[in-house]
């Protein structure tokens, strides 16, 4: 059997809305992935450390508080600084359209907004990981 994809679902910043993060975590787990959830109020540095320690292939960030432009890019930057640029970083939450290009430019490969079907997220990760 193939080694399952390991994913870190993370909540950066002070936002307490974790319904979406937990639903995604559960859906990815049900799709056969190994999922670690950080819990609330993580700094980008803590997320980078957790991603490296847990040896994940994907980091899925969730924010609904409007602080994504401050919180998502430093995660990608931190991973690069730790030579972990191969870890795929995804984002989700309430993210205005005009913020998507700067986030993608910063290295967040895909943004999933409200109403996303979890099957799309699963398919995206599997495709990116060549499964």
């Amino acid at each position: 059997m193939e080694k399952p994809i390991r994913v870190l679902v993370a909540k950066p910043g002070l936002d307490g809305h974790d319904r979406g993060a937990k639903v995604i975590a559960q859906a990815l787990r049900d799709a056969g992935m190994e999922v670690i959830y950080t819990g609330l109020r993580q700094t980008p540095e803590q997320i980078v450390q957790a991603a490296i320690q847990e040896d994940v292939e994907v980091v899925a960030l969730s924010s609904l508080s409007g602080a994504h432009l401050h919180l998502f890019p430093p995660v990608v930057k931190g991973l690069r600084e730790n030579n972990a640029q191969d870890i795929l970083v995804l984002g989700g939450g309430v993210i205005p359209d005009e913020d998507i290009p700067p986030l993608k430019e910063a290295g967040i490969v895909e943004i999933f907004g409200p109403g996303t079907d979890t099957k799309n997220v699963i398919a995206y990760i599997k495709k990116a990981k060549g499964v």
Binding site: L14, R41, L71, G115
Partner: protein, 555 residues
């Protein structure tokens, strides 16, 4: 209500009718295999007096009378409408003050303050963890100076103000009292609510600071202080709203909220307060979700169950202690980013369910809230929706108009019964503070099931999994000025440079000392904020003395 013979006859008749219907359905299946509410309560094809409980007339009673199923006041909205109270706040205190005045000019009757996350978690705007969050989901309040700006030109003896603030509620209340005093309004003239509900922060909302015991102490300090000094203030708003938003069912919303309520009442009694001194000022906050009939029944069931709990479990005597008064907000989680104008209809039906359920105040969400904070045009439609319900369609002209509907009464009974089972389960593990992870697990299960139902098509969401179409995102969404953070930090630095810092240090020292005793901390908070101690400084002292809550990761 009906004599036993005629009920027996009806039961037989219905059973025959049902068999005939079942035959017919075999040939021509119904739209769905099963019909049930969001809480999984089976819905029958029709309801009759046979479904009413034997004690229906006692369970129903009359409005303003125990067990308050039909409403807390005898004439409800014939006296006056519910308070139309739109939750608002973003950016700086100045911008939010402008939005407040706009809403009051448009006929809104009460204020509701949304604070930004750093304020809710007791950090000043210049704290490292506040970066990027200042002014985003609410207004930034660092000191009494910001509070003065926020409330500028608003007569605090005439307007009631609700503040969505929990862990640092005592400090924000202290600021409000101090600003009122500057306006010449004494505390006994103040009307309003602080949310002050820490248990649901641990369970579902996430803006906790201190551990449970210390948080409960702050809450009982507030109860004690307000009972003596601000007798019209609602000292807590025990909230099911966020539990529902996190994904619970209607039954779980009622059960977990009332379980939290029980814990607060018990804590206050344990701290030496008399139940009838503080219980009349407890208030509640519920969600108005999509399943219209279940929602109407939910509000009624919650009211009846609380009255029984207060009377039977806590021996409360004052009728006011038995009355569950509540605010309602329409369900944010049901708003779609797709075809957002359709949200106007969702909100209208949800708001109507709250009115038919007897709410005391109401917030209607705006159509664009799945995308951003609402802009002025959207907020206006939301407020007008309430005004249409209140002034145009006649539902406010009689009390509990759906009371006596066989379906609504049957659902009300079932919700009460199922919620009570949950409460017994929570009691058996030691009450709500000990059942946080249990409740989280239950909520999470429901949330995941809800998502699976949407993805399988078992649950329809117009614009998401049915009747979809490509639409452009609306223009003119509200964007919080990204410079608000910098401006707020500069304002804070200036204030710190101008105040008497030795005085602030001395007062914070006194607070530190008192925090280790059983003394009521409210007077210390009031003295501190009057001398321009900041929210972050005050909470910083308490963080050092009380420690911080660490979340158990449940998933």
């Amino acid at each position: 209500m009906f004599d036993k013979n005629s009920i027996d006859e009806l039961k037989e008749k219905k059973s025959a009718w049902q068999s005939k219907l079942n035959e017919q359905v075999k040939k021509r299946p119904e739209r769905q295999k099963e019909f049930s509410t969001d809480s999984g309560i089976n819905i029958e094809a029709v309801y009759t007096p046979a479904e009413l409980s034997d004690t229906a007339s006692l369970d129903l009673s009359l409005p303003g009378q125990f067990p308050y199923t039909r409403g807390v006041q005898p004439n409800m909205y014939r006296g006056r409408h519910w308070t139309m109270r739109q939750y608002a706040g973003f950016g700086s205190a100045e911008e939010t003050n402008k939005r407040f005045r706009y809403l009051l000019d448009q006929g809104q009757t009460g204020l509701s303050v949304a604070f930004d996350l750093p304020t809710q978690i007791g950090f000043d705007s210049d704290h490292q963890l506040a970066m990027g969050e200042v002014g985003k989901v609410g207004v930034a309040i660092d000191s009494i100076m910001d509070m003065e700006t926020l409330l500028d030109g608003i007569p605090l003896d005439k307007v009631s103000t609700s503040m969505t603030i929990n862990s640092p509620a005592a400090v924000l209340l202290a600021m409000y009292i101090a600003v009122a005093e500057k306006q010449g309004v004494t505390p006994d003239k103040l009307n309003g609510t602080i949310q002050n509900d820490i248990l649901k922060e641990y369970i579902a909302r996430g803006t906790y600071i201190f551990p449970p015991d210390q948080s409960m102490r702050l809450i009982t300090d507030i109860f004690g202080y307000c009972a003596k000094n601000i007798s019209n203030w609602n000292t807590i708003s025990i909230s099911g709203y966020h539990i529902r938003e996190a994904g619970s069912t209607a039954v779980q919303e009622v059960a977990f909220t009332l379980a939290d309520g029980i814990a607060y009442v018990q804590a206050a009694i344990d701290s030496g307060l008399n139940v009838d001194d503080f219980a009349p000022r407890l208030s509640f906050f519920f969600n108005a979700h999509l399943n219209f009939l279940e929602e109407v029944a939910k509000f009624r069931a919650a009211r009846r169950l609380w009255a029984r709990i207060m009377k039977e479990r806590f021996g409360a005597k004052s009728p006011k202690s038995l009355m569950l008064r509540f605010h309602t907000q329409t369900a944010g989680c049901t708003l779609t980013a797709q075809q957002p104008d359709v949200n106007i209809m969702r909100v209208a039906f949800q708001a109507l369910s709250a009115v038919l359920g007897g709410t005391q105040s109401l917030h209607t969400n705006s159509r664009d809230e799945a995308l951003a904070l609402p802009n002025e045009d959207s907020v206006l439609i939301a407020l007008r929706t309430q005004q249409v319900i209140g002034y145009e369609i006649g539902v406010a002209d009689t009390v509990d108009p759906l009371g006596g509907s066989y379906m609504i009464e049957s659902l009300t009974d079932q919700i009460e019964e199922r919620a009570m089972k949950y409460i017994e389960k929570i009691d058996s593990v030691g009450g709500a503070p000990k059942a946080i992870e249990y409740m989280q697990k239950e909520i999470q299960k429901s949330a995941y099931q809800y998502q699976l139902d949407i993805e399988s098509g078992a649950k329809t969401v117009i614009g998401v999994n049915k009747f979809t179409m490509a639409t452009e995102k609306p223009k003119g969404l509200l964007k919080v000025d990204p410079a608000v953070g910098e401006r707020q930090v500069a304002r804070l630095a200036k204030m710190r440079a101008e105040r008497d810092n030795a005085q602030v240090d001395a007062i914070l020292g006194k607070l530190r000392k008192a925090s280790g005793t059983n003394e009521n901390l409210m007077p210390y908070f009031i003295e501190a904020v009057k001398n321009y101690a900041t929210l972050g400084e005050i909470c910083g002292v308490l963080r050092e003395e009380f420690g911080e809550y660490r979340q158990q990761i449940v998933f």
